[in-house]
Symmetry: C2
Subunit: 205 residues, 2 copies
């Protein structure tokens, strides 16, 4: 069953960087990506989930119920092995509800101080598709380690402390294009795109 | 996030032909297919949906709630263009609740009598995956036409009346292996397998 024309997807974000990243991943032959900047009256959504998947699903459900348009959404964060997966879903508020990136980074280094190196860690992104009937999640991961001091000015969050496996630079030292190629978000949305093409545009039919 | 070992899937059917068909489609490197013959105490499920997707989702939900194992399920039938998609979800009970294949076939021919040929039709299969959180449907279609009299002894249902586009034989005249290569069910489960591999075993990670 092929749809007539492109599939419209509403990406549950107001972040234009994310929108342009996802626009590069989703084949414009098949998909048209809208974002929350195209819609008025979308409420702030509390991320009360215990996992990245749950948070992404919460966003997707709220936005679909408001808009009636098939939604893609994501949630992501850092999981450090020696800290049993912390900061996890608290990544953006590790040092408190309105903590800055540097406060969160400082808290992470404090927690890791005295622990043996390397501090293995991964960035995880859960990406979700929801259309009222179909609901599915995929994850993308970027493995690496946390180093002892911040390096680099690109990116955000824990990027200055994270060196991907096989690299010598931190994510904040990589160019945005380089980061976007290997990122957990790129992997998750890459899978989602593949799955949606298989679902809606399988060539064999 | 790769699972440790194979993914167990419970196929919501007791039909061993379907099980062996799906076993050929799903790569045994990644999946182990169980069926309802492996479980006692599964109730009969009433197919009250208005679409193939709804019926497949009903089966999948009931079986997942009983078993706690990720489920695949399907529902399928015939849709004739001149009859606005009939017999559709009533394919197996077109001539009444306990109608035989030949009663259903007879009713179909009666409905089509006097209508101009060709009687364009398609077999549709909706296949579903459900694991309590993720729920998604795909469809597979086989296009063709309904001819004026039954031919062939293989298959079941409307197979003796259905000639796939590009073929001169009815589905009931094709060998089971030939039918299985082009069937709506093979297409639907082929997509589902592709999607589940992308979700669980993406090579790039």
């Amino acid at each position: 069953m092929k749809p007539n024309g492109k599939i419209k997807l509403l990406f549950a974000t107001k972040n234009q960087h994310k929108v342009s990243e996802v626009n590069k991943i989703f084949n414009s032959k098949y998909f048209e990506i809208l974002s929350l900047t195209d819609f008025a009256g979308i409420p702030d959504i509390e991320e009360t989930g215990k996992t990245f998947e749950e948070n992404a699903l919460i966003k997707a459900t709220v936005i679909y119920d408001k808009s009636g348009i098939p939604v893609i959404a994501d949630d992501s964060g850092l999981a450090v092995e020696q800290l049993n997966g912390e900061p996890g879903v608290y990544s953006s508020r590790y040092a408190g509800e309105d903590a800055s990136d540097s406060e969160n980074n400082a808290k992470l280094l404090e927690k890791l101080s005295g622990m043996p190196k390397p501090h293995k860690a991964k960035f995880v992104c859960a990406a979700v598709y929801y259309d009222g009937q179909n609901k599915f999640t995929v994850t993308g991961e970027l493995h690496g380690e946390i180093i002892g001091q911040q390096r680099g000015n690109n990116g955000f969050g824990y990027d200055p402390l994270f060196v991907p496996t096989g690299y010598s630079k931190t994510l904040a030292e990589l160019k945005p294009e380089e980061k976007n190629k290997i990122s957990h978000r790129a992997k998750a949305f890459g899978k989602l795109e593949k799955i949606l093409i298989a679902k809606f545009f399988d060539e064999k039919e």
